[in-house]
Symmetry: C2
Subunit: 272 residues, 2 copies
């Protein structure tokens, strides 16, 4: 499966300090030797805080998940020529920032063109050599593009590559668009999505159908079993943070929908 990694590939992944998954698992004593094998599952559900602000803003209790956004991660490398900030006339420079600024702005336009679900994020950037009075010879920008429609995500990918080529070539800058990860769009099982929807309606909770912007365990479970997810609101969409907060009554609603969706699927004879 394209979205899964081979064991050795997973072990070799390094963070920006060079620490690998394999070595760190060993260090903390969690590098086991049991094979991961598929177990028979009739269906799977996952309940989660939204990690985004949509339900809270719309004052809804339940998100009925139809799938998970696809994403593409890139390391964009722009190569210019280092030169001294003072003596070098602007028109003689091959300055990576001269392309980076319109590329970043162009990616935001791309996300806006495919609103409301298009996303463009620049999580990190590095200038080399990174000296205050030197035009950088290289910029490395982390680019994250997302959309829940696979075809549109492909269009965003193509438009991004064109944008980079155009902005760099006209300034005689070198460039590499290194795609580091492509997480394809996940579409959840219609019967599982239907079970979440009818449980929500039967329990009288307000809801909307939506897709997840973040990856989840269900992304992988969906490759081996019929799957859907349930979202509940969280304050300001903040997660993975000490100020993460969700209301007890929303958590209760999520658990109730989970229970009733499972009961419905359990009695469904179409699924084995």
């Amino acid at each position: 499966m394209e979205r899964c990694l081979e064991l050795e590939q997973a072990y070799a992944i390094a963070d920006k300090n060079g620490k690998t998954v394999g070595a760190e698992l060993g260090r903390i004593g969690y590098k086991g030797d049991l094979a991961a094998s598929a177990r028979p599952l009739k269906a799977a559900f996952e309940v989660h805080i939204e990690q985004g602000p949509i339900l809270e803003q719309q004052d809804l209790q339940i998100g009925v998940l139809s799938g998970i956004q696809g994403l593409r991660w890139y390391d964009l490398v722009i190569d210019g020529e280092a030169c001294h900030a003072g003596p070098t006339p602007m028109e003689s420079r091959r300055d990576p920032f001269m392309a980076a600024a319109p590329i970043i702005a162009g990616c935001y336009e791309l996300a806006a063109r495919y609103a409301p679900w298009g996303r463009a994020t620049f999580g990190d950037i590095r200038a080399e050599p990174g000296s205050r009075n030197t035009v950088p010879e290289r910029l490395i920008v982390n680019v994250d593009l997302r959309h829940p429609d696979a075809e549109i995500l492909d269009q965003m990918d193509a438009a991004f590559r064109e944008l980079v080529a155009r902005e760099c070539q006209q300034r005689e800058l070198g460039f590499q668009v290194n795609e580091t990860w492509h997480m394809p769009v996940t579409t959840f099982d219609p019967q599982c999505v239907g079970a979440v929807k009818s449980a929500t309606d039967n329990l009288g909770y307000t809801s909307m159908e939506m897709v997840s912007g973040a990856g989840h365990d269900s992304l992988y479970i969906a490759t081996v079993a019929p799957t859907s997810m349930i979202f509940v609101p969280c304050e300001n969409g903040i997660s993975h943070n000490e100020i993460e907060n969700a209301k007890p009554e929303d958590l209760e609603a999520g658990c109730n929908v989970l229970l009733h969706a499972m009961l419905e699927i359990d009695s469904n004879e179409d699924l084995k």
Copy 2:
């Protein structure tokens, strides 16, 4: 003098790894205890490779220096809010890059407005927390603006501050424009500049009058004695680099101009 640092201030300057001038001088055994005192100087000349491409491009042998560009260094800090790259709708984000892209583009426009001597350089940039799938909560950008006319450099400073405020405020981003250094414009002594010019002409070298884009020892010497500088071409303007290269005949020309300018000033009774 505004351009000079107090001793303790100079010792305390740290690089981005936190190493200070004082500690590093101590470490290599160069932290002496002699006071720096002005010595009587009738005049001073400095000959240097251009560190820029202008003389080479115009096929000239000598640059007659009338002064040194002023510069202003800033740490531009843009504060947003960290959030997850997937679930957070674009319009809910407070993403520092959304202001940084037009600010960088706007600074290049500012340099172009005051061409050919206006300069804008972004030597380094840092995103915090710097995680691939998180909108940064903070961007720190090193900005370097230069111009040889003090009044225009002041206009560039004001326009830069306005640009930052406008782009950040409309996106509800916080910002700080921390000026870390202001090196005022240096105008060299007219008699010293004249001595360089007449030595160049008398020796039959091709030349142009120009200002230095980089700071030099003469920047400080000019505060205690009549001063000028002589530039010779260097290949592609590259300096502080192993491929730095200047032609022997150009170095000879520079030395000849230096000698004859000194002889002329030595016989000048107006200067004591």
